[in-house]
Subunit: 420 residues, 2 copies
């Protein structure tokens, strides 16, 4: 495993700067990750984080929207951003000599955006289109319904994009106010990976990020998983089925065992769900399982898309596989899941953007970088018994079922509960 030389500096403001140098590439990825996401939004402002992410590209005191795009693309760099339920990220990849420009732009859009009302009105139209695109994509929107059902009317249950109503209700003041409140130095991490010198980056960041508003830390969060059922009849070719359970938080002692359970159950072509649902029964093209975590909770999810004539057959098969994995897993399955995760970690090391993002997220979640060696050591402690135990933990929680499509033939959640 290649050695890494990750370095971390905390500026006097509390802003953390991390670098993961790779001297074999000519490029660098750099970004700002914020411990701010949809779950930090008050209900009437649902979607404000994501709108703030969009509006950051719409003009600062010094730069128009066009300037932001042109300056980065003039040097062949590209800049992007995303919002999730817990994080917002702004990042860029460029040739190594253009790092100062990227830091200058990142600092500008995160501290000096003007949120011009005319620009906002247009961008509200753009985001309404983004919402429409998501609604039109069944295997996308079904996960929003799943999330809303799993967490009910809590922040974690709301869509990242917001709704047409909440998005159209935002104004420049609410967006600027939200940024002022939440984008404090101790909730931001600047991370870079690739051809980068740590001291030079610290110097650039120290000189540019001087206008962030220091604030007291955010209040405690409490994810309260409820479970439940959502069914939507829609005239489509495929029925989307998401069956979920309460998973584990990032800092849960069962975190790695849960990731291994998801890999073994539905992570690859050799996984139980792929073999049973797709290979043996031909019921689905896409079928998988995955574990997702939050600071204070998590979800464990099984997903498949199937035809109207197979809907009735699909969920009992999922339940049967759940029952089996609660009873027994084989040593070779566990070894294979570990090998897949191990190789995934190594392969992830080859991408500057991947390394940069991984590092930033580790800082936001754990407060420190987690070495590959540490992850591998954790994976090595997990045996068959641990996975069976975790399967029983996860699958004894209340199920969440979200289905969209031809749902008439589907068994009820109540009946499913009896099978799990």
């Amino acid at each position: 495993m290649p050695t890494t030389a990750i370095r971390e500096t905390r500026l006097p403001s509390g802003l953390r700067v991390l670098t993961d140098p790779m001297d074999t590439v000519e490029t660098v990825s750099v970004g700002v990750w914020a411990d701010v996401g949809a779950r930090h939004e008050p209900a009437p402002l649902n979607g404000v984080c994501h709108m703030l992410e969009h509006m950051a590209f719409k003009g600062t005191r010094r730069r128009s929207a066009l300037d932001i795009a042109v300056e980065m693309e003039d040097v062949g760099g590209n800049m992007n951003a995303y919002t999730s339920r817990e994080h917002t990220a702004f990042y860029a990849k460029m040739l190594k000599d253009d790092l100062p420009l990227a830091v200058d732009i990142l600092a500008d859009i995160l501290q000096h955006s003007v949120f011009d009302p005319e620009e906002l009105a247009r961008e509200q139209g753009v985001v309404v289109q983004e919402i429409a695109q998501s609604i039109d994509t069944p295997d996308d929107i079904v996960f929003d319904h799943f999330q809303a059902t799993a967490y009910g009317d809590q922040p974690l249950g709301r869509p990242v994009l917001g709704t047409v109503e909440t998005v159209e209700g935002l104004n420049s003041d609410t967006i600027g106010g939200f940024q002022h409140t939440h984008y404090s130095p101790d909730r931001l991490v600047v991370a870079a990976a690739g051809r980068v010198d740590h001291d030079a980056l610290v110097d650039l960041v120290g000189r540019q990020f001087t206008a962030l508003n220091p604030r007291p830390a955010k209040g405690d969060l409490h994810a309260h998983y409820t479970g439940g059922e959502y069914r939507e009849s829609r005239d489509v070719e495929q029925t989307q089925v998401v069956l979920g359970f309460e998973g584990v938080a990032y800092d849960d002692p069962d975190y790695y065992a849960t990731v291994m359970l998801a890999t073994l159950l539905g992570g690859g072509m050799s996984s139980r769900l792929f073999q049973e649902v797709r290979e043996k029964r031909g019921l689905a093209y896409t079928v998988n399982a995955f574990a997702s975590s939050y600071i204070d909770g998590g979800l464990f999810t099984l997903y498949a898309g199937t035809g109207p004539e197979d809907v009735a057959a699909l969920t009992p098969v999922l339940c049967e596989e759940i029952g089996k994995v609660r009873t027994r897993v084989a040593a070779d399955e566990v070894a294979r899941a570990r090998a897949q995760l191990r190789a995934g970690i190594l392969m992830g090391q080859e991408s500057t953007t991947g390394r940069c993002e991984q590092l930033a997220r580790q800082i936001l979640v754990y407060g420190r970088p987690i070495s590959n060696e540490e992850v591998l050591a954790e994976l090595n402690t997990i045996d068959e018994a641990a996975i069976v135990r975790v399967a029983n933990r996860v699958f004894s929680t209340a199920p969440t079922l979200a289905a969209l499509g031809s749902i008439d033939g589907m068994v009820s959640l109540e009946r499913l509960k009896g099978w799990i």
Copy 2:
């Protein structure tokens, strides 16, 4: 720019083996790229290439479907495949020591697949689900309709997945026969990038790929672009609009100028379409332009998704931008497009899978590796006049319009023609 040490060996059978070594990584990507795609299918067998791609994973004389999945994932490797209109690819990424296993599996599935009728029956169900998923995804299926409209009832106009009818009509003999006819050594390329030794790979491939059927070269292909109009009313939130023209073949002298035109017009945040359609007018979340090429032709495509109330406004704006770029482009736009393409080439060098695929495709398309220096030299010759000339060439061909959604308010293709 990092130097590369690409090596090529042609085995006595005609099979070519290429390597692009990178000594800074611990992994290797290896694959077989075949000069065989949906356009080589007879009409009644539409989808046979793609079904062959699926069935390659469903069992050989030595291995069950489960064996294939398990052997690769046991070592943490992953294997994947795709089919396009001109190519089929089977590739894997793994830790460097597992290369012999990957070559063994690739050789096995491409030469000794059994196409068991029971497995086929199940896999037909899986592919029917894949087709259903595509139909349910408006911004996916609209491009199939676009392609069918651009090329009419010709091989290039048909969907890669086939139709439910043609897929259900396939049997083990037609699939095996198609493979026997088309998978000849001179139409295949084995390529690897990453931690790989050329001579060792040549040795492995020479020993394993001994059962391919040598055949005369395939007949000539003739792409005949027609253009035309497709409109489908569907009850969705967004209307999908694809406006296309005849583009250029890979070996066209205007190939690179066309790529630059697409970049400048709709390739990034600073591009004309992004600025005009999204930033200035807020008409779309996704809007872009791209050039795609075939051996003997190509397409130049503008795409946007918009709301029902904006459909009427969108296409005139696209036409206006087409008119402008036929008149004038600025030196800074051209320099920016060049910088973006240049950086994209450099960034692509960092991925083993990307390098491996690029190399294989260059061999299939051009018969030789194309160095980055050569591409950059080509890009450097293209000035404003060349791009305006190419814009006039492309945009004076017959347009193709495909729209899906709320289409009542859309202007007709005839009227659009008058504006271009």
